[in-house]
Amino acid sequence: MSKNILGISAFYHDSAAAILLGGKLVAAAQEERFTRKKHDESFPTNAIKYCLDYAGLTLDELDAVVFYDKPYLKFERLLESYYAFAPKGLRSFIAAMPVWMNEKIFLKKVIRKGLREVGDYNKSSLKLLFPEHHLSHAASAFYPSPFKRAAILTIDGVGEWATASIGLGEGKNIKVLKELHFPHSVGLLYSAFTYFLGFKVNSGEYKLMGMAPYGRANSKEVKDFEEIILTKLVDLKPDGSIWLDQRYFNYVTGLRMIDEKAWEQLFGFPKRVGESKIEQHHCDLGLAIQRVTEKIVFHMAKEAKALTGADALCLAGGVALNCVANGKLLKEGIFEKIFIQPAAGDAGGALGAALAAQHILFEEERQIDDKAMDGMQGAYLGPQFTDLDIEKMARRNKLSFQRLESDEALCEEVAKLIDSGHTIGWMQGRMEYGPRALGARSILADPRSPKMQKKLNLDIKFRESFRPFAPAMLAEEAERLFNLGAPSPYMLLVDTIKKEHQADLPDDYMDLPMMDKLYVLRSSLPAATHVDFSARVQTVHEETNSKFHLLLTKFKEITGVGVVLNTSFNVRGEPIVCTLQDGYDCFMHTGLDCLVAGNYIFKKKP
């Protein structure tokens, strides 16, 4: 009989829970959405409660609770690293050990205590399992993929020892073929640059990726930076493994990512202080590390191909959220098909842990639904609300609203609002699992408007104005506008808009200051095309999000363009909204024009 399994990730960043009911994935969510603390690492009490509630299960009805990594193996790595570097790292050791001796070494007890807050259960019958971190990532990528056989590549900061792994998925089995070990890590390398360029480690990596296109693509400066990285910091081997020169890094034994003085000497400028002005050399270095990262990922993918001979690749781990690298990897053609787990970071480890237990420990066969694109159900696995909830929220906040009877009428009305320049908070159905808003908790706007990027960044999202927005589009529009050659339902592939949709640029475009570059009209979708003509494409499919698909269809009928700008429904520093009240609060505290929840439209101005 198929099992009921709860997967958990917690205690580092992005804690989450996912549940398999009778072997089928039915619910998954990140804790941050409930606690409203971005990247919340605490035990996912709320997410577990939600998952159990959705599945209609009690803790006693679970066949296993699976945590996404092995704490003792991680402890071993810490101790051996301190041994290796001693006496350096004493301060860090003194800071780390109390945490371990106080709670992390007693993780089983901590988890049992956390579960006690969720509900009563019989401790003796609870099966608690701990698969390896990268196996959890690999499982999260392979098992929901549509492939019977595939290479698996997982790349992140660090799990226990592994920082990257290559595996082969076949049927219900995963075989790990090769691992790269700490302290040599692509994720930590990228995070080191995130830190040096003035962004927060573990959350600013997106910003660095968004800043990189402002670098001067063909300049000597970028090439020199690349060379410095590849000669001084990183030794890239032909099989994609890397060796990081630890003289320049500080994360093994210190409380910082890098040796700032050494980096200043290497690159010729000091660490950027957060919120200070971004200069051209910051962007150039951002582009250089992005290119180096892509180079490493390509080498790893080629090695995965050589080791497995598979036609398809599954990707997971934090680095798999680097959608620029993903898009280029697809174009490179090393693999015919690529599936990327939408919750590729540690949140997805919760799902991977549950799936690893299901197929590897309990030896359940995989069921691949040939009709579905993949097993993730569009990543719409979170909480939802009812019409009654919407009306209660409206009454509580004394709001007037317009209710449209049919989806058809609603989508037509919202399409008209977007066409007339309105910005929409769009809350529909089940919340997304993973970092991307995919049309369930999204802000939507007109991508054709040249002023929309600035308006959204400064008046609504309150974030840095250089950051790009993504276009969500009908699949056929993706073919018309881009050359992706594959669906991108999870917004994890970046591509360049086709030449015929690019605008003519001024001759001095590459030399323009950052912000001037931003306001040059670049394409027919200026608000959703980055300064290098690239866009993080989301293809919207009727099978997974019929209402969003209908909205895009209506928008196309009105404007001739089946594309809207789609960004996450939140403001800077906050998690994406979860409940109606979160959505209402965000709507009222930002410059958003309308809130559309279910078939109800709320407007600030009549």
Binding site: Y12, H13, E41, Y72, L73, E76, L78, L79, E80, S81, Y83, S92, A95, A96, M97, P98, V99, W100, M101, N102, E103, I105, F106, K108, K109, G157, V158, L188, V201, N202, Y251, V252, G254, L255, R256, M257
Partner: protein
């Protein structure tokens, strides 16, 4: 006791006997010093993720 049993099993399985002394010392220190302290998770960031 469960932790001690798990750690012992882990050390034997991984053949990492060299780690036994430091773990024992840390556990003893932990018993004496750490109980009752609040978590210092925020102070130590990077090698934990």
């Amino acid at each position: 006791m469960e932790v001690l049993r798990d750690i012992f099993t882990f050390i034997v399985a991984r053949k990492k006997y060299v780690l036994a002394p430091i773990i024992i010392v840390l556990l003893l220190l932990g018993l004496i010093l750490v109980f009752g302290e609040t978590s210092g998770l925020g102070a130590f960031v990077y090698t934990l993720f």
